[in-house]
Symmetry: C3
Subunit: 360 residues, 3 copies
């Protein structure tokens, strides 16, 4: 177990299932979400639906089928299911029994993200927590490309990674962590617990900017910058980031939204696949040179390189941790935000379990 709770994730929550653009018109998209096989498809009106990826006839995965006018058609014997999971056609047979159906899951599409609700459908409510990330809709000022990696680690190891940035000078020397190692480790760190997770901001003042910042913003050799890293973890599995740097003396701490420096937002959506693997949805948004297409591409490339460095560590850590669960851990000072993040998710899981017990 990777969390100190019996269950490893909350069920009654919205999870990032896919980027909207991933779901095409003709063909469904299959994902394993929270240990369940799911198939996503877009109906004739353009609305996205999520079904159990298993035909009720002979357990054939529906992902092998086609999107047709009436819904999603099984590719084996042609049964068709609508967005609610109801079978609406059985070839060669007039009457369709009411038990001919598959499970369907609530879906919300918002800000280029397809969110899914895997828990009790009667509790699925748009009012429930969905992270607001308006920059996804603003391609003019925050141009970006979305991306997704499948990572062989428990989803919370990825959240851990984002909650302790002292790893940056060690793992990411060639991109966002180069420059002054000690300065980065000794950054000021302001941590605030939130009802829905944890927020922190780190400042590194008068620091040598790392390679990715230099390439992006064009800082000249010898320039020192004031650099910030602002992160918010929102349960169960989103991290919203605002990072950047301005030349020393420009008053970054008072006003980060000045032109001429480095300034990006990053969206991180981490959805459990199984207990030992997850989907990592990520988007870097170029806020420093929004009219420069090459800058947006370069930023994406730098972040892709950086996250692949993380993945090597995360997957090795996963294997080691899974094999040595009986051994303890040693918390250090820089774990403060990480520990609060863990407390939030465990609290959410315990609340859900208690609610269920009370309801029984």
């Amino acid at each position: 177990m990777f969390l100190d709770t019996e269950q490893q994730w909350p069920l009654n929550a919205w999870y990032h299932a896919a980027w909207a653009y991933e779901i095409k018109d003709e063909k469904p998209l299959a994902r394993t979400l929270l240990n369940e096989e799911i198939v996503l498809f877009k109906d004739a009106e353009g609305k996205v639906h999520a079904l159990e990826d298993r035909c009720c006839h002979r357990a054939t995965p529906l992902r092998l089928g086609d999107v047709v006018t009436e819904g999603l058609q099984c590719g084996y014997h042609g049964l068709i299911f609508n967005g609610a999971g109801k079978c609406v056609r059985i070839p060669g047979q007039e009457k369709i029994p009411p038990y001919a159906k598959v499970r369907s899951f609530p879906i919300i599409e918002r800000q280029e993200i397809v969110w899914i609700w895997m828990g009790d459908p009667t509790l699925a409510d748009e009012a429930e927590l969905i992270v607001d990330f308006p920059w996804n809709d603003d391609h003019e000022n925050w141009p970006h490309f979305h991306d997704m990696y499948e990572v062989e680690c428990n989803y919370m190891l990825l959240i851990d990674n984002l909650m302790d940035l002292t790893h940056i000078p060690y793992i990411h020397r060639n991109t966002i962590g180069g420059g002054n190692q000690k300065g980065q480790v000794d950054a000021s760190m302001d941590v605030t617990p939130r009802d829905t997770g944890v927020h922190y901001i780190r400042w590194m003042e008068g620091i040598v900017p790392p390679p990715t910042y230099v390439k992006g913003a064009g800082f000249k050799e010898g320039t020192l910058v004031d650099r910030w890293q602002e992160f918010e973890y929102v349960v169960p599995s989103t991290v919203v980031q605002w990072t950047g740097a301005l030349e020393v003396g420009r008053g970054a701490k008072d006003n980060r939204e000045q032109p001429g420096g480095f300034n990006i937002r990053l969206y991180h959506g981490v959805t459990p696949r199984t207990e030992n693997s997850c989907y990592y949805f990520w988007t870097p948004l170029n806020g420093y040179k929004p009219r420069d297409k090459e800058a947006t591409k370069l930023l994406h490339k730098e972040i892709a390189f950086t996250f692949n460095e993380d993945i090597e560590f995360l997957e090795s850590q996963q294997a080691c941790m899974a094999a040595t669960m009986e051994k303890g851990f040693v918390d250090i000072k820089h774990d403060s935000a990480r520990l609060l993040a863990r407390r939030s998710i465990e609290l959410m899981i315990r609340k859900e379990a208690t609610g269920k017990l009370a309801a029984e």
Copy 2:
């Protein structure tokens, strides 16, 4: 469990172990049959034998050895076993103890097929059911090539596939299922339970012929045909097929053996490898242009393509079904022959189990 019986296959039955041509003079052939490791070899007189693939000395697989005059020689330390499994030589030692032996299995070679008996050897009898397929011996009128695929699915999923042909217009659009989708789904279906399995015949009258038929028989554009599909499942794991089409008006229903149309026989032998995998032995026999070598090759190629389409579905279905055994299934009208096939095999397994109980 893929069958509603504790055991997943009968033991006291002849199974298709190999094509005769696969067993060479010098080297043995290894197969996993019904979860047992088996090694087949041909002795100096050309007779095929089957032994447990494990030297009794130090558990080395005999498949790594060589066929020698006295039998099969272990490649590690040189022990030799004859066709009955008796050790007939131990290098460096005069006396051979009587317990130096490996298990041997009854074998019958007939009609280009090597049949094996995996159950109680005292019950192995040539009089026991072995499917008769005389066309294998008639290369002049039914030219053919044999083939074999290893498929990662329970053997009965492959039998299921052959018992419900409404999958053809969905999976096999480019070969044997193209043309009129509705006509193929709505074909007449005449199902007859047999003591040894189930027989059915389907007729599609006045239908557009599918691509494989057009390529093979040379039907001109606009031609409509009367098409038949006759299948017999014989327990535990053989399906014999006769399929073809004649131009409308030629009286196909009264006489299918007329020249000028499309006319093939197909042998399907499906032998369990493990509970989750099987060997699929298959042979299409060209009865429409028996003197045309290219036609025989083309037919084989079309069927190979078609069966690979099936395998994609069968292996996905296997994975899905194995992971969701606790969920139910919904039988449909077109499952009639499939359900009778399942009833036959389950009956055979139950009879064997009851016989054993009575004997104990």
Copy 3:
């Protein structure tokens, strides 16, 4: 279980962990030894250390880190451990708690071999049995290259292989086993149990020399030789070999150390990785043409080819044996040294177990 003891290897013993040259200055080397993940590194003074390959902070493998002046630094968040496993630095934190440590293992470097002690460290003593192999230090008279193979078999199957050389004429026909098959099987065999294992010597007099000997020593066609194979197994997992041949009539049995023949020593170190896999450290030493660099290279190549032939058998045997543990074995005359080797290792394991029981 591959041995008739509950435990499959002794813990209180020195095992071959690596060749000294494998451990570089900058980067650590990871190995799985006796089911434990170990990381080896060389400190600033050139001394080799072995630590548990798991950072005590967040279970990241230390093998991903770097060797620094103070010790081995975790690549994730920068903690540093010295050779004793004590954490000597936590970035961003002054105080280091005493429980911040990882397990360390005693190491001895001797004769180009790094030996590790995986058992009770209070019992680790240089006086404990370490095989003496002085020829490793004598590159002038016994030139050689070291090598290592990872083999997917229980370590004792490899020892078995070396204890019964009647496999040579079957498996190694193209290198060290060609020539007179019967002569090799019928060689004289003199077996002596030792306190620490077993010793044997085999003589084949007036035999045709095998291909590797002909290539190496340049025996002319038609030459017959007296050939010897002297082997000693030392518990838990070393085999020391002296092999060669002299032309008939030169009195090999009285004096093997004459020039002009074939004469090699071979070091075999077999360390358990898991119950089903091992590391095979091996070195052939050229004692017949020590000034001839090409001869040393050729010898290594011939032995590499030969051992790869063994590995094919060993890995197949492993799979077969593991799947059929309930079936018995049939011992033969040529198993005499092998059975004594097994008795030695089982005795060592039982003594260790009894000692523990007595101490409890």
